[in-house]
């Protein structure tokens, strides 16, 4: 048995398609293991489908490597965060914590937004005051923002804890107080009169990162920016857990983001184990069921065979996708239901083929011999017939896998995927439904499709490599 297996493997390994297929599969498996180990189980609900989590990411941003190919440099995305102040000063009223963030800004366009987030603020005496100042490359200083942490409630006793459950995110873009500060700054420094509402519609982040040219034109100001986040505390026990400043870019990461700002590389990675799971699990169950029924029907025959054949014929004769859509729609969108449905509709093809193979084997002498010694039926089926058809069944298992991966992707694309976990089909669906293809967001549309194809091709290649092993007639063909 083991030499037979070894020979079969050598035969398989001889072909280039097999080698490529196995390499592909190894990469898929490694990536899947990485995801399973490092991602939380509730990734879909807690992060992917939670818009709050992605608030500080740029929306519909292409991957950052597009900058290598374009003449105009698109701003990168900068996130600065710190849990420890860079400086502490003793003032008359208390301790001043200063967080310092430096940014060498060299892009040809201004950033897309600006936001400040604070987390875990504790105070004992007076509410903590948080300010944000910026010094620009031209030496001009703007006091952008001032925020007083909410005062104690009635009956509340110190320590007063703020922003523990949910961090406080202040979007400077769209903030009217920042707009009027900037309007005053423009008229003081450049003699440009502009209403705060106009500043708001141009965008606060744009004004900060540019100098006015005429009354309505702005040119980007490149160079070193320093942001100061100044926190005035009034008690030595007061503390701030974390401050974060985000200078929103227009490119992001290796794969870009979608229209909700979700980092596509994170979602696409999560798709690996799911695609493999659906493909392999569905295929395995389907093959076992289909082969089992085929062997039983073929060997036992009679009424059982008749029932199996009629059912297989029926299932084989219905158009699959409409009924799958119907059932996924009525029964609900859940990964297990989808796998179940794929199995229910997938088994007949194999049953029909395996049955006809068993019918031929049945009259073989080794079977007659086994019957003559008095071997029970299940023993013959399991020990004598199954090993004969096993290589074929295994090849079919591999061959079916891409079909199921593609079917799940199709269902997801039609909006019937499991909403609690992102799959490649779902990422594509959202890109399609939200109009991403009509405005050419290629980084959102092309990668998930290529990943689906890559995964499917892996199994096609392995199946091609197995063909000469399973079908010895092909062996000598070269």
């Amino acid at each position: 048995m083991s030499t037979r297996f070894k020979e079969a493997f050598q035969e398989f390994w001889r072909l280039n398609v097999s080698k490529i297929g196995v390499v592909f599969l190894t990469v898929l498996v490694i990536l899947s293991i990485y995801v399973v180990v490092s991602y939380p189980l509730d990734f879909g609900v807690r992060y992917w489908n939670n818009p709050l989590y992605w608030a500080d990411y740029p929306k519909s941003a292409p991957p950052s490597w597009v900058n290598y190919f374009s003449n105009e440099k698109i701003p990168e995305h900068y996130t600065f965060s710190s849990i420890k102040p860079s400086n502490t000063l003793l003032t008359e009223s208390g301790i001043r914590l200063i967080y310092l963030f430096k940014l060498d800004f060299q892009a040809d366009k201004t950033p897309t937004f600006l936001s400040l987030t604070v987390k875990n603020v504790t105070y004992y005496d007076k509410p903590v005051i948080i300010r944000l100042n910026v010094t620009r490359p031209d030496g001009k200083n703007i006091e952008l923002y001032r925020y007083t942490v909410p005062a104690p409630y009635v009956d509340e006793s110190p320590p007063y804890k703020r922003f523990y459950d949910q961090s406080k995110r202040i979007s400077l873009t769209g903030d009217l107080s920042v707009a009027s500060i900037l309007a005053r700054f423009l008229s003081r420094e450049y003699n440009v009169t502009i209403k705060p509402s106009e500043v708001n519609s141009i965008g606060q982040h744009k004004i900060i990162f540019s100098i006015p040219k005429g009354d309505t034109q702005f040119t980007v100001l490149k160079g070193d920016y320093t942001f100061y986040i100044i926190v005035d505390t009034y008690d030595s026990r007061d503390s701030v857990g974390e401050v974060k400043l985000v200078v929103g870019g227009d490119v992001y990461g290796f794969m870009g983001t979608d229209s909700l700002g979700r980092d596509l590389s994170v979602g696409l990675l999560f798709g690996f184990p799911i695609a493999l799971f659906i493909g392999i699990v569905t295929s395995t169950i389907t093959t076992l069921l289909g082969a089992g029924l085929g062997i039983m029907g073929g060997y036992i025959g009679g009424k059982l065979d008749e029932v199996i054949q009629r059912t297989a014929d029926f299932v084989n004769n219905i158009p699959l996708l409409p009924l799958l859509i119907f059932l996924a729609f009525i029964l609900g969108q859940n990964l297990w239901i989808i796998v179940f449905l794929l199995v229910v509709f997938g088994w007949p093809t194999l049953t029909i083929i395996v049955r006809s193979m068993v019918l031929q084997l049945k009259s073989g002498q080794f079977i007659e011999a086994a019957i003559a010694i008095g071997a029970p039926r299940w023993w013959i089926m399991f020990r004598h017939i199954f090993p004969q058809v096993a290589p074929f069944i295994f090849a079919q298992l591999i061959f079916f896998t891409p079909t199921f991966i593609l079917l799940e992707a199709a269902l997801s694309f039609l909006g019937l995927g499991d909403p609690t976990m992102p799959t490649w089909g779902q990422i594509l669906e959202y890109g399609f439904r939200s109009g991403g293809i009509y405005v050419g967001l290629w980084w959102w549309i092309i990668p998930p499709g290529l990943l689906i194809i890559w995964t499917a091709i892996t199994f096609v290649l392995i199946a091609l490599g197995m063909e000469p092993v399973v079908n010895p007639r092909l062996r000598r063909m070269k």
Partner: protein, 348 residues
Amino acid sequence: MGLARTLFMRALTLITVLVLVIFFMVLVLGATGTSDKILQAMVNEEIMMLRQSLAKTIKDPQELERVINIRKQELTEFYGLTKPWYVRLPDMAWRVLTLELGKARTLKTFAGGNKVSDIVMERLTNTIILVTSATVISAIVGLVLGVRIATRVGGILDRLSSYFSAISYAIPTWWIGIILILVFAFLLRLFPFGGLYSTPPPSDPYMKFLDIIWHAVLPVTTLVIASIGVWIYTTRTIVLNTAQEDFVNAARARGLPEELVRRRYIMRVAAPPILTNVILGLATSISGAILTETVFNWPGLGRLFYDAVLVMDEVVVIALTYIFTLVYVVARFLLEVLYVILDPRVRY
């Protein structure tokens, strides 16, 4: 009359499939409580209309309420909502069969009506246009190329086509469509993003026809790319197998011209198995149509399916599942008639 009997048996099998699918659907609808929801919606619809018409004649609100309540009870009785779902199975099955499913919740016909059967029927032609033209093109190109390749086995074209058919097995049809849109509609602006014709459609009928063709190019190409690999590969394999048979060699040995050998001896024998493959691929092309129409916003049944799922319109989803099965069964029957004509052996 072997022919009539064979066809009758085929028709019977396919009708059984249709009946079983409907039965299965109704079973699922009943067991999940969906059929109750649909019938209740029909009752509510009628009560609402009754209230509007009665409000003009009956002024006393209490009297109005009383009349409406009586009518509501009658209707609930009439639709069988007082009985458990499994008693209502045959009735529900009949509703699906005759598309008497009431009104769609949000989807409408092009004219603005909301009767389910109207919505479904007016889109049927668009789907048939799309699928038929794609199938005809794939068939012609696939047959011509397949036969050509079979005469030059091992050539570049042969190897290319076998790679292509292996790869096309792994590419989702709808993604091809999306890429075509990205390249030809967005980037090159050669073809429209989707739809059946421009808005507003050209008034001149000739121009309108051209407009539809212009809109159909990308979806038809998508379907052809998706199915042509299989066409070429099966044609090639079957023709190749037939060409190695003894009777073909015998015909060549008799000195018959190659053209005649190919037409009468090879193709005549290879045609039925090729057709079998087409029949088997029919279900796939229906799936392909659903997805391709969705991508290209082609106003056929497939796009309607997507829209119905999107707005959660159960009745339309049910009607479409049934119609797709019906279209499949009818198309399959037509192909099998063709098969019986092509292969005389089937008759006996």
